[in-house]
């Protein structure tokens, strides 16, 4: 059985580790440090942790001020509150001033599960992607989360990193290298391309197995940086495979699918099918039930690839 590991758990571990090397790291949370795992850092470095209470806007503004004073603030809460409630302070006080704040939010997507639509963020990638100066990253497993954090702590400028409540299968080992703005081809293939991010990378790989049984070999790309998106890799994939399926645990409006379609439609005309949450809110249920409900299973991805193959010239 594939090993699984919590991506948000990894955030807590890595942050506490980085805290030793980077004395300027400070961490802010809005009363969810147990869930976002910033509590690990808080216990180790109590003087550098600020629980802001249930006040996301103030958390973001304070993080901006800390960055202006030379600190490296990491601000965490659930994805919908971090990016939705505090969107305008992020825009005005972080992105516009180009401040060195890292927003690392957990509980992205519908696999939040039982808490339901109010807590399932299906808009955060769109909300962050539209902001000038913002980098947007969705790691595909715990190893990648670790590498992402090592990278963004040394990167000057605003970054949004999304993680999830559920555990993800471990896809990478320590030899993996993460670079901002670079997608990773996990599986070669020429029949079509599946571009995924976050947990959906694992689902895409499972879909690849199903398609292989039909003799179809899709190229599978982990597009962990959604902004700046790896346009060169996408154009190459579009030209070489002739059709693209995007897969994300986010609204099909404004997220990875949109980012891919924007690049591909300007550069080369191949069919693009977006798999994600259709224009609707989430609902309560177990994560696996919800993946089925919202059409985010390997079987759904397989069908989308077959559809794209039909449309290929």
């Amino acid at each position: 059985m594939t090993e699984k590991k919590s991506v948000r758990g990894q955030y807590g571990e890595t942050l506490a580790l980085l805290g030793e090397k980077y004395k300027d790291i400070v961490v802010l949370d809005a009363d969810l440090s147990g869930s976002t795992k910033t509590k690990v850092f808080a216990k180790k470095f109590p003087d550098r942790f600020f629980n802001m209470g249930v006040s996301e806007q103030d958390m973001i503004g304070t993080a901006a001020g800390l960055a202006a004073a030379g600190k490296i603030p990491f601000a965490s809460t659930f994805a919908i509150f971090a990016t939705g409630r505090a969107w305008e302070p992020i825009r005005q006080s972080i992105a516009y001033s180009k401040l060195n704040v890292k927003i690392v939010a957990s509980h992205g997507g519908i696999t939040v599960g039982e808490d339901g639509g109010s807590h399932q963020s299906i808009e955060d990638i769109a909300l962050m992607r539209v902001l000038p100066n913002m980098t947007v990253i969705v790691p595909a497993d715990a190893t990648e989360m670790h590498k992402v954090l090592e990278t963004v702590v040394a990167h000057k400028g605003p970054v949004y990193v999304r993680s999830s409540r559920i555990e993800f299968p471990v896809l990478y080992d320590d030899a993996y290298t993460f670079t901002i703005g670079k997608g990773d081809v996990l599986r070669e293939g020429t029949d079509a391309t599946i571009v995924a991010c976050g947990f959906m990378v694992s689902q895409a790989l499972a879909a690849g197995d199903l398609l292989a049984q039909r003799g179809i070999r899709p190229r599978i790309i982990n597009m962990s940086t959604i902004k700046p998106v790896d346009a060169a890799l996408l154009v190459e994939a579009a030209r070489e495979t002739g059709g693209i399926v995007t897969v994300e645990e986010h609204s099909i409006i404004g997220g990875l699918g949109s980012a891919v379609a924007e690049v591909v439609s300007e550069e080369c005309h191949v069919p693009v099918k977006r798999i994600g949450v259709q224009d609707r809110f989430g609902i309560s249920g177990k994560p696996n039930e919800l993946l089925e409900c919202f059409g985010l299973t390997p079987g759904d991805i397989e069908r989308a690839v077959l559809e794209v193959l039909d449309k290929k010239e």
Partner: protein
């Protein structure tokens, strides 16, 4: 930087209270003149709230704030956040007076590709600590700066200027809790209580009273002053530095459009720049010869 220059550039505390009280009215008058000329040139911008806070900001920059115009990023500088970002013309006039901005730049306010954006932009203008303009965010930012300075064991202080309409923003009260909770005493907030906002009087639009009681209830040390009496402003800054274990707010009662009779206490001049005739009269009242 040579030590001999420090006395010139480290402005604050360089003159006695008596000297400051003699000098400040004239400095404030000059700054008001620059504000009005700047606004007239751009035919756009916020007159009333720039003039109401002129005496406060002039006093802050001339007597209180430790800063170096030739080294805007100097680590030891006190931080200032203009939370009521629409008073940008005032900020620019003050920064110009200290040499952060060349006087020639003032006529470029709000023009395409200019250094002086409609609201303060830290990326465009030397001396502007952080971009503001969307109300309600400056106090959180100032808290963060003050916490950062404290962690860095830097004894610099943080000052923030808010408007009175601005405190209708909920985020201000989140930040008010934070400052008290974390005992941020290297922070001094100023509230420009001019009583007017763009849609009318603050009392009519959304009453904020009892204002002092609110801040006290949130755990702040509150100082009420007349924001146009320099001796009261000086005393308030002095007290603010002495208060330990809690943040301080100076609630400064001011007159919107202060210094020019046709603008004083007029809602209309919140966001309107003076036309030719208005500028002429304004400069006359301020004892300035024609352009």
């Amino acid at each position: 930087m040579a030590d001999s220059n420090d006395s010139k550039t480290c402005v604050s505390m360089e003159c006695s209270r008596e000297e400051a009280l003699q000098r400040l009215p004239e400095e404030a008058r000059q700054i008001r003149i620059e504000i009005l000329k700047m606004l007239h040139q751009s035919s756009s911008g916020h007159t009333g709230g720039s003039l109401s806070a002129t005496d406060l900001l002039t006093t802050l920059f001339f007597t209180e704030l430790r800063h170096r115009a030739e080294d805007p990023g100097w680590e030891g500088r006190d931080r200032f956040v203009l939370s009521k970002g629409h008073a940008a013309p005032l900020y620019y006039a003050v920064l110009c007076r200290f040499g952060y901005i060349h006087a020639d730049e003032l006529c470029s306010l709000r023009k395409v590709n200019c250094m002086l954006q409609g609201h303060p932009d830290s990326k465009s203008t030397p001396g502007v600590e952080i971009s503001t303009g969307s109300l309600g965010q400056g106090l959180s930012i100032a808290n963060g700066m003050a916490l950062g300075l404290r962690l860095n064991e830097n004894n610099a202080r943080t000052y923030v200027l808010m408007g009175d309409g601005e405190v209708q923003e909920g985020m201000i009260w989140e930040a008010a809790m934070t400052a008290a909770h974390y005992k941020i005493d290297n922070l001094c907030a100023m509230l420009d209580r001019n009583g007017l906002q763009i849609d009318g009087t603050v009392e009519e639009v959304m009453n904020i009273e009892p204002l002092a009681d609110k801040w006290k209830a949130f755990g702040w040390h509150v100082i009420n002053i007349d924001g146009h009496r320099f001796e009261q402003i000086l005393d308030a800054f002095k007290t603010a530095k002495e208060v330990k274990g809690k943040p301080t707010i100076i609630i400064a009662k001011t007159i919107k459009g202060k210094g020019v009779s046709i603008f004083e206490n007029k809602v209309k001049y919140h966001g309107i720049a003076p036309n030719d005739q208005e500028l002429e009269q304004a400069l006359k009242e301020l004892g300035h010869k024609k352009l």
